[in-house]
C-alpha cells in the first residue's frame, strides 16, 4: 500500500530542498545575477550560480554522463538551461526564492527550430556510440530502373517528443565524510556512480547510488542528467542532505527528448511488387556541440527490414539551441518505422497489392546490409497469426470503402522490429539454512518486473518455491549490471543470476557428496538435482537445512558474471512483430479513435507471460500516443517550449485505449543469449504509429506523413 520507496521518498534528518532556476533565453551569456531579494527570503541556505559553483572534473561527455551545463560557465545554449540552484529549508521556501532570482543576460541569435538551419547539417561524430556508421549502402547508389518501375518518394516527419515518466527526476544527495550517497531516479546506477565520481573527482567506491524503484524512465533516466549532479554539488556546499525534485515543466529541458526527424524515403518496385531500391535519408536535430551530440538512428531499421538489391541510408544532424536529445522508447526504430512502414503502405497501394503480401514478397531471409543470417526470425508467423486474429481478410482494400454507420472504418498494419541487445552483467546468490535464497544484482526495475523475473529464475535453478527467494537490486554496492535500456535487462542479468545459482547448486552437490554419508560418496554430481529444497539423487534425498547442519555452515554464496558469446556477432539479432489496427474516423469532425488492436510478436522465449503482456500493451499504447497526440511545441522567437506540462503535452489516457490482443508467436532465439529471449520493452512501440497512419489512410484516403495525426490534417 504505497510501500515502495522511490528516490525522493527516503527520509534523512535535516533535509534541505533544492529548486532549479532555468534560463529564459535560448542563446547568449549570463551577465550577472541579482540575488539580494532571493537571499533575504526566509529559510534560504545558499544560491549556487556559475559564480560560486564547485568546479567539476573530467567534463568530457561520455555515455550515461551529461556534462553540460552544470553551472560551469556563463554561456547559454538553450532556453531552460539550468542557471542556478536555490537551497532552502523547505520545498516551498526554495521554490519562492527561486522565483525571486533575477538573471541578466546578453542574448545572441539562436537557432530555435530545425528548419532555420536545415541546409547546414553535419555528419554525426559518435553515431550509435560507434556501433554503427551514419551511412550505409548495398548495391548501386542510383540503380538504373527499368520502365514500368513504380516509385514512392515522400518526406515523413516526427516531432520532438518527451518521455514524461510519471515519476519526475529526483535526487536526494548526502555528502558525509568522504562519502557521497545519492538516492536518484535512474535506469543505470552503475553509470550514475561512474559519472558522479568522475565529475567530483572521487573514487567510485566513495559514491553510492541507490534506486530500488524507478517510476518509469523510457530512456529519460538512462543518462546521469544535470539535476542529479547539481543535487550532489548542493549537499557538498551546505553539508546537509539535499533533495532536488525536478518539476514537470523542468522535465522538458532537464533530461532529454526524442529529437524531431525529417526523413526522406525513396522506394522503387517493379509491377510484381519486388523492391528494386530503397533509400532512407534522415535529418534529425541535436543540440549545440558544447552541450553534446545525440543522433536518433531512424534509418537503422531500413538496413535490415526488407530485401532489395539496392539499400542506402544516411543520418545527418541539424544543430539547434535546445538541450541534448536522448534515447526514447524504441530510439531510432520507432521514428524510422513510421517513415519506412508508411512508405511501404503507399507502395502497396500504388501496386494494388495487399500490404502483407507486398511485405512477404520482399521478406528478408537474411540481414541484407550486414550480410548476416538472422539469429532467429519468425516474422511470417507474426503476419499470419496477427492477420488471422484481427480478421484482415475482411478488409476491403479500397480507401473510404468501409463504414460503421456514419463512421469511416480503416484497417492498417505495419511491421515492428528491434535489435536484441545484451551486455556483461553480474549477480550473486546467497542460500541460507532455512532454504531461502537472496538474489542480488546492481540492476534496476523500471517497471518491467525485474524483481520478479530474477527471483523466478533463481527459484527454478535452486528448486525452491518462489516465496523463498528475495531479490535486492538498485544499489551500486551490489554486483554491477548494465543500464536498464535497450530491452536487454533480462538477456544480460538473468544469465548472471543463473550462473550464480548454478554456483550455489554445485557447492550444495559437493556438500551432499562429501557430507551425505557413505552412500553419497561415489555419486557423480551430474545425476543430482535440487527439488523441493532438497538434493535428490540415487542415494536418496537430503534437505538443504540438514546438509548445512552436517557441513556446519550457515550459508552458501556464489557470485558470477555473464557476457555475450563471441559468436553472437556472426548473426543479425532482432525481435519482430506485426501490428494490426482498426480506427474509426468521424468524416465531419476528423476525430480518430482506435477501436481494435492485435499485435503479434516474435520476442523469443518469454520468462513471465503476465509481465511480458503488460510490456507489450504498454509499448503499443506509447505508440498510440506517438501517432495521435504527442508533440513538444517550440516558440520560434524564444526557443521556449510552449506545452511543458502534462495537460498540454498530450499522452494517451485510459479512454483512448481499446481492448488490445497480444499474440506471442512460438520462437526461441538459439544464439543471442542462453535463455532464448529477445527483449520486449521497445519492440511493441515500433510499428504502432505507422499502423495507425496506414489505418487512417485506409479509412479516409488521406495520407498523413507528419506526426502526430491531427484533426486539421484530416479536414484539410
Amino acid at each position: 500500500m504505497g510501500g515502495a520507496k522511490y528516490a525522493a521518498e527516503f527520509e534523512l534528518p535535516d533535509m534541505a530542498h533544492a529548486v532549479l532556476v532555468q534560463s529564459t533565453i535560448a542563446a547568449g551569456k549570463i551577465l550577472g545575477f541579482d540575488l539580494i531579494a532571493a537571499k533575504a527570503m526566509p529559510g534560504v541556505l545558499v544560491i549556487i550560480t556559475p559564480d560560486n559553483a564547485e568546479k567539476l572534473h573530467n567534463l568530457k561527455p561520455a555515455q550515461q554522463k551529461v556534462t553540460y551545463p552544470l553551472l560551469q560557465n556563463a554561456d547559454i545554449k538553450f532556453n531552460g538551461q539550468h542557471v542556478a540552484v536555490v537551497v532552502a529549508d523547505t520545498f516551498e521556501r526554495a521554490t519562492a526564492a527561486a522565483a525571486a532570482v533575477r538573471v541578466h543576460y546578453r542574448a545572441t541569435k539562436a537557432v530555435t527550430t530545425m528548419d532555420q538551419a536545415f541546409s547546414e547539417s553535419v555528419t554525426p561524430k559518435n553515431f550509435s556510440n560507434g556501433r554503427a556508421k551514419p551511412d550505409s549502402q548495398i548495391g548501386e547508389t542510383s540503380p538504373i530502373l527499368p520502365s514500368g518501375t513504380l516509385r514512392v518518394e515522400q518526406i515523413y516527419t516526427t516531432p520532438i517528443e518527451h518521455h514524461n515518466p510519471m515519476e519526475p527526476h529526483a535526487t536526494i544527495a548526502h555528502w558525509s565524510g568522504e562519502q557521497l550517497t545519492v538516492w536518484t531516479a535512474t535506469q543505470g546506477i552503475s553509470g550514475a556512480q561512474k559519472a558522479l565520481s568522475s565529475l567530483f573527482g572521487l573514487k567510485p567506491q566513495n559514491v553510492t547510488v541507490i534506486c530500488p524503484y524507478v517510476g518509469g524512465g523510457f530512456g529519460s533516466k538512462g543518462n546521469t542528467w544535470p539535476p542529479a549532479v547539481l543535487a550532489a554539488m548542493a549537499t557538498r556546499q551546505v553539508n546537509r542532505p539535499v533533495k532536488l525534485v525536478v518539476t514537470r515543466e523542468q522535465m522538458f529541458t532537464s533530461n532529454g527528448y526524442r529529437p524531431r526527424t525529417v526523413q526522406r524515403i525513396k522506394l522503387a518496385a517493379n509491377p510484381d511488387g519486388r523492391l528494386l531500391s530503397v533509400r532512407h535519408d534522415v535529418k534529425t536535430q541535436t543540440s549545440m556541440p558544447e552541450v553534446g551530440e545525440f543522433a536518433e538512428p531512424s534509418a537503422l531499421i531500413t538496413r535490415m527490414l526488407y530485401s532489395a538489391p539496392s539499400i542506402g541510408t544516411s543520418h545527418r544532424l541539424v544543430q539547434v539551441n535546445h538541450g541534448l536529445p536522448t534515447y526514447m522508447r524504441g530510439p531510432g526504430e520507432s521514428s524510422g518505422a513510421f517513415a519506412i512502414e508508411s512508405a511501404m503502405d503507399e507502395m502497396a497501394a500504388a501496386l494494388k497489392i495487399d500490404p502483407i503480401d507486398f511485405r512477404l514478397r520482399n521478406y528478408a531471409e537474411r540481414d541484407p546490409t550486414a550480410d548476416l543470417p538472422f539469429a532467429s526470425k519468425a516474422l511470417r508467423e507474426c503476419y499470419a497469426q496477427g492477420a488471422a486474429a484481427f480478421g484482415w481478410e475482411k478488409r476491403n482494400p479500397a480507401p473510404r470503402s468501409m463504414r460503421d454507420g456514419h463512421m469511416l472504418v480503416g484497417m492498417g498494419m505495419a511491421t515492428s522490429s528491434y535489435p536484441t541487445n545484451r551486455m556483461p552483467a553480474s549477480a550473486s546468490v546467497h542460500l541460507t539454512a532455512d532454504g531461502s535464497a537472496l538474489v542480488r544484482s546492481g540492476t534496476q526495475d523500471i517497471g518491467t518486473g525485474t524483481y520478479t523475473t530474477l527471483a523466478q529464475v533463481a527459484a527454478d535453478e535452486l528448486g525452491l518455491p518462489l516465496g523463498k527467494v528475495r531479490t535486492q537490486l538498485g544499489d551500486s554496492r551490489l554486483p554491477p549490471a548494465p543500464v536498464s535500456g535497450g530491452s536487454m535487462t533480462s538477456a544480460s542479468v538473468v544469465p548472471a543470476v543463473q550462473a550464480a545459482a548454478q554456483g550455489v547448486k554445485a557447492q550444495l552437490f559437493a556438500l551432499a557428496i562429501s557430507h551425505g554419508g557413505f552412500q553419497w560418496q561415489s555419486v557423480s554430481p551430474d545425476v543430482l538435482t535440487l527439488i523441493d529444497s532438497a538434493v535428490d539423487g540415487p542415494a536418496g534425498r537430503i534437505g538443504i537445512g540438514q546438509l548445512f547442519t552436517l557441513a556446519k555452515i550457515k550459508q552458501l554464496n556464489a557470485t558470477a558474471g555473464a557476457q555475450p558469446a563471441p559468436d553472437a556477432n556472426d548473426y543479425s539479432k532482432h525481435a519482430f512483430g506485426a501490428q494490426f489496427v482498426e480506427v474509426r474516423v468521424d468524416p465531419d469532425l476528423g476525430i480518430v479513435r482506435v477501436s481494435r488492436w492485435v499485435g503479434a510478436f516474435d520476442c523469443g522465449r518469454v520468462l513471465n507471460a503476465k509481465t511480458a503482456r503488460s510490456q507489450l500493451i504498454g509499448g503499443i499504447i506509447y505508440g498510440m500516443g506517438m501517432a495521435l497526440f504527442e508533440e513538444t511545441r517550440i516558440d520560434r522567437n524564444t526557443g521556449r517550449i510552449t506545452n511543458a506540462n502534462i495537460s498540454d503535452y498530450l499522452v494517451a489516457v485510459n479512454a483512448d485505449v481499446p481492448e488490445i490482443e497480444t499474440i506471442i508467436v512460438d520462437s526461441i532465439d538459439p544464439i543471442s543469449n542462453p535463455l532464448g529471449t529477445k527483449g520486449i520493452g521497445e519492440l511493441p512501440m515500433v510499428g504502432a504509429a505507422p499502423a495507425i497512419a496506414n489505418a487512417v489512410y485506409h479509412a479516409t484516403g488521406t495520407r498523413i506523413r507528419d506526426l502526430p495525426i491531427r484533426i486539421e490534417q484530416l479536414l484539410a
Partner: protein, 197 residues
Amino acid sequence: MSLPDTTRRTILGTVATLAALPTVSRADISEPDAVSGGLGLQNVTLQVNGQQFRVTLEPRVSLLDVLRETIGLTGTKKGCDHGACGACTVHVDGRRIVSCLTLAARCKSKKIVTIEGLSNGGDLHPVQAAFLHHDGFQCGYCTPGQIMSAVALIQEGHASSADEIREWMSGNICRCGAYPNIVAAVQDASGNVTEGG
C-alpha cells in the same frame, strides 16, 4: 542504510507500517516567518487515515507536500503538481481529489484517506488485490492514485461498463500503459466492493 528487500508485489503489498506513526508535530520549519508577506506559520491538525497529525505549516503548503514531506506518507505521489496526472489522488471526506491542488490548511477537521489507509491491517483492499491479480501497473508510480480513483469511482457508481470505467479513470495517467489491465482490475473489483469498503 538497509538494502531494498522487495519483490514486485511490494509496490502494492507492503503492510502500511506508517499507519502506526505516533501523533507528532514533525514540522521542519523553526522560525516564524515575518518576511514573506503574511505567510506566517500555522498549527493545523490533520486527520489522516484515522490518526491525528499536528503539523506546523505555511498556508501555501499543499496537502500533497504535507503528506509526503511532513507526515512521511509517501504513498501518495507527485507526478505533475498541476492537477493534470492524478498521481496524488486521495479521498477527502469521501471524495477523490488531487492533493497537489489542495491547500493543507483547508483540510482541518476533514477526513483524509490515503493509499496507506485504504485497508485495515495487513489485508489488501479488494481494489488493490485486483490490481495485483490483473497486473494493473508496471513502474507503480501512478498506482496509488489509480487505486484511490478506482475505489471512489466504484462507490460513485461509475463502474458499470468497461467504457464507463475508461472514461472515469481518464484523470489518472499511466505512462507505462497499463490501462487495459487497470480496466480489468476495476471491473473485477467492482463486483466485490461493498458500500463504504
